[in-house]
Amino acid sequence: MKKPAPGPRLHSLELPLDGVTLLVPSAAVAEVINPQATMAPVPFSQPWLKGVIGWRTLAVPVISFETLVGAPTPVNTATGKIVIFYPLSGRSDWEFYAMFATAEPRPQLLTRSEPVVTEAEMPDLPYIAAGLKVDGRLMLIPDVEALKKVFYPA
């Protein structure tokens, strides 16, 4: 494992999913809410798009990252959380999106001394840019450019 140079600390959130843990910048997350029984399914949408919820007068699509990467969809999403993300760069200011998490996200203060996981240690999953070992645990950083391409195909 490579050790990056020390630098400014980065406030991040650890998002527990089913089988993997994502690591995202805290600034990318708008809010964490409880799952809603009122989530509306979107007919003929991609299997990973689980529905749409109303949030602050906006319509926010909710995805399952597990389904997106080809892993089995968690059976029970009612006990976890919905993490609402700010729009991806270059998108309209109303294009918030959300993701199921299996539990409350936990804050992580990264010091940039966390070891970067080598390619050999990385799970074979799409839409992942890199991995870090934080407190000995593997955390995966989503590839937002790849997400943008699959969310908003030209």
Binding site: Q36, P43, S45, V52, T57, A59, V150
Partner: protein
């Protein structure tokens, strides 16, 4: 207008040409075969109306009461619904919404907005895509 399909409501924006017909004014498809739920007889033509369930799959809804016909080229198409409600424009503030991922029709996504009431989102059809979907169903 609000369309009730099974246990789910959808909104259809105002369109220049549409007609709402009562069930008793239509010819119900009594054959179990085919996608058409009913026809509206106009002069020497029959205009098809389709039944969709809440997931927009073709079905024969048992309790449909009305059909909404959309007067478009090349062929008027209809949708049978359990209920239809015309909503005052001032009562419905539509938020933009585009489903993520690849669109299911050649004309794009079936929805272009959502009416948000609290935490509930009622999806708003994109008329051109809905019409293209209905026209693609055919008679079989």
């Amino acid at each position: 207008m609000r369309l009730q399909l099974g246990d789910t409501g959808y909104l259809l924006p105002s369109m220049p040409g549409f007609t709402i017909e009562q069930r008793e004014n239509l010819i119900t498809n009594k054959s179990p075969e085919g996608n058409v739920a009913a026809w509206r007889a106009v002069q020497n033509r029959r205009l098809p109306a389709y039944g969709l369930d809440a997931a927009l799959r073709v079905t024969r809804p048992p309790r449909w009461r009305r059909a909404v016909f959309l007067d478009v080229s090349p062929q008027t198409v209809g949708l049978v619904v359990d209920e239809v409600q015309l909503l005052p424009r001032a009562e419905t503030v539509i938020s933009p919404f585009t489903p993520l991922g690849l669109p299911p029709t050649r004309l794009g996504h079936l929805f272009s907005g959502a009416w948000i009431t609290g935490q509930r989102a009622i999806l708003v059809f994109e008329p051109k895509a809905l019409i293209a979907y209905l026209q693609s169903l055919g008679e079989e």
